[in-house]
Amino acid sequence: MRFFEYEAREIVKRAGIPVTDFGFARTAAEAREIAERIGGPTVIKSQVLTGGRMKAGGVKFAEGPEEAEGHAATILELQINGHVPRGVLVDPRAEVKQEYYAGVVWDGIREQPVMLFSDMGGIDIEEVAATHPDHVGRGHFSNLVSVSDFQAKQVIAQTGVTGSALTRITPILARLARLFSERDMTLAEINPLGETGDAKFVALDAHMEMENEARPRQRALLSELGVGDEETRQAREPTEFELAGEAVDAQDHRGVAGNVTEFDGDLGLVIGAGGGSLTLFDAVRKYGGRPANYCEIGGNPSVAKACGLAKLVLTKPGVDKIAVMMSIVSNTRVDIVARGVIKACLELDMDPAEKIAIFRIPGAWEEEGFKILDHYGVDYADRRVSLHEAARRAVEKIQGAAASEGDGADAPRVDGRTSGEVTEV
């Protein structure tokens, strides 16, 4: 989850890293009050969880409180990449001699965090690394032993920074590294880290992202920052449909029938598990289908959950049919999912045979599942029909093409369907 700049700066401040005397305002009047307190030129910055603020006009400079209020009013109305600002940050305009970059990220291959430092701050670190590699210092640190200041010093010294700048930035980078570990961040950046006229170093902007899995154990910090459990801070806010999906998954603790993501197509997907869902979503699109949603079933969910998920997808406006497909299951039971999706159709007064374009879930308890599907005349397939072939059939059905008269352009059909051939009723 990503933090707003004003939150990230607060996190940095709590770690003992100097910050400016900034303030966060939700209204223009509040912005004016903060500017009055600061009492000099200020910078007004839009608080949105997206990049490109400067370009979009979300950062403005003010000479005094009046101008600060005016800029705040404008910025608060300004959407950036579709994001409405949460508020504005009012920052004293500092005299900056030089800008530096300090950051910490994970190196997934080394399985350790890595400190990054550059004496060319204020721009994207990846750009600096590409154009001026000698201006980027880096150093991994242990997960088991807390970072020592010398490790930060070594990273900074790689860029040629020496003198008082080296000794003053060292504790800042070391504290950022400790903060990264202690707060379960996946990204912790101060950019720029400014050297002011009086040779002090101060965080002028900060960017923090915390791992979602760690939110429970960072609850104290999050509540102090005013971040509620309901704020997912995903790349986009959840839709009503997605929230309804979460409610379905939360109704009991048996398995998963969730991770519902809304798309705007006509083919509803009741799919799983993790990798199977990714494969199937790609497959539907490959064959020209338009998915209405993404989701994941796994870990043997209850009939109620499978039913709830199928109902949610079946009643989504624009959905004509659903495809129920998974990679071979070994834990999730085929019969339970079959029961769930058929129950959903019946409770909605829909004909399962018509609404379920295809049911392709082979694996545990498949004989029992196929019996149920036979009973309701649902088109199903076993493992002899590949994930892609199942997706292709579903797309073909929803597009109303004649199921039996293919043009032969696609892979030959391995028939695993038709009742009686597969299982005895």
Binding site: W106, G108, I109, E111, Q112, P113, E126, S142, N143, L144, S181, D184, T186, E211, N212, E213, A214, P216, R217, Q234, A235, R236, N259, T261, G272, A273, G274, G275, G276, S277, L278, T279, F281, D282, A283, R285, K286, Y294, E296, G298, M326, S327, I328, V329, S330, N331, P362, G363, A364, R383, R384, S386, L387, H388, E389, A411
Partner: protein, 307 residues
């Protein structure tokens, strides 16, 4: 032969009294030649039995009663307790730890992996289904109940490495149906940081006489495909590799995570299209569909196309 496991491998199940762990224990005991599960650990439950496997309070107690070192452990405890359980296994000289648990914070995983490195041990997972040597042994929920696992997996020349547990079985089943068995199949886990990546398992397959080709399942996110491409190029691997890349649609949705925690696309190098390019440049064949894999493998092995 096989990698990581054989018929003689002894292991324990930590968190053995949990619902999923009870099933997993049954499955492993039933599969192949029958796993040698020498004990289970759940603190406070000493004296119980799970399908005949004695339960203890500590890993040290199991080792005492077994009368010698234990090769491996399957860890299925809740995420908040996983790190402690894995540390307990590692500090008791367990050399192969399969972590089934999902949703463990990355920092904890990184700590476990680093300690394992210091102790000369190997971690598979987290968020994985484990390892299977067809008709011999399975360690973890991979393939499900013995009867189901027997349908999907068969012995043969193909090593399987997959970031998705379910897709390990889907791909192996497709290979089996085409007459291509597996030497060992490893579900390596879907998280951003895992104990054993493709490149870290490749030397084991490389050294395994039974293995003649590799099939991998991959996803967007992370650098482990790039690492594999580099490893293959630098080491002039004798093993042909066929890869399948899922989640191509995610390239259009940066910042969103689908499927597994590891799939969040954080940089250009993490995207499906970038990975496909890198794999292909290293001579790895990238299949468009799972069903194409057997023919591609047969082609790379130079044998006639399977039925």
């Amino acid at each position: 032969m096989s990698i990581l496991l054989d018929a003689d491998t002894t292991f324990i199940v930590q968190g053995i009294t949990g619902r999923e762990a009870v099933n997993l224990t049954r499955e492993c005991l039933d599969y192949g030649k029958g796993a040698k599960i020498v004990g289970g650990v759940t603190p406070g439950r000493k004296g119980r039995e799970v399908h005949g496997v004695p339960v203890y309070d500590t890993v040290a107690q199991v080792i005492d009663s077994h009368g010698g070192p234990i090769d491996g452990s399957v860890v299925t405890v809740p995420p908040a307790f996983t790190k402690d359980a894995v540390f307990e296994a590692l500090e008791n000289d367990v050399k192969l730890v399969v972590i089934v648990t999902e949703r463990i914070p990355r920092r904890d995983v990184a700590e476990m992996v680093e300690l394992a490195g210091l102790r000369g041990a190997r971690i598979i997972g987290p968020n994985c289904l484990g390892i299977i040597v067809p008709e011999v042994i399975k360690m973890g929920g991979i393939g499900g109940p013995a009867r189901d696992a027997a349908k999907a997996y068969s012995p043969g020349p193909v090593g399987v490495i997959s970031r998705s547990g379910g897709m390990t079985t889907e791909m192996s089943s497709t290979l089996t149906a085409a007459g291509l068995g597996q030497s060992t199949a490893v579900s390596i886990g879907g998280d951003a940081i895992i104990g054993s990546t493709y490149a870290e398992l490749m030397p084991l397959f490389e050294a395994d006489e039974q293995t003649e080709a590799i099939v991998i399942y991959s996803e967007p996110g992370g650098r482990m495909e790039a690492e594999l491409a580099r490893w293959v190029t630098e080491n002039e691997s004798r093993l042909p590799i066929v890869a399948f890349m899922a989640g191509r649609f995610m390239d259009e949705m940066p910042g969103m995570s689908f499927g597994h925690a590891g799939t969040i696309v954080e940089g250009k190098e993490d995207t499906a299209s970038e990975k496909i390019e890198r794999l292909a440049a290293a001579g790895i064949t990238v299949a468009e569909e799972i069903s194409e894999i057997p023919a591609l493998i047969a082609e790379r092995l130079g044998s006639p196309s399977p039925a």
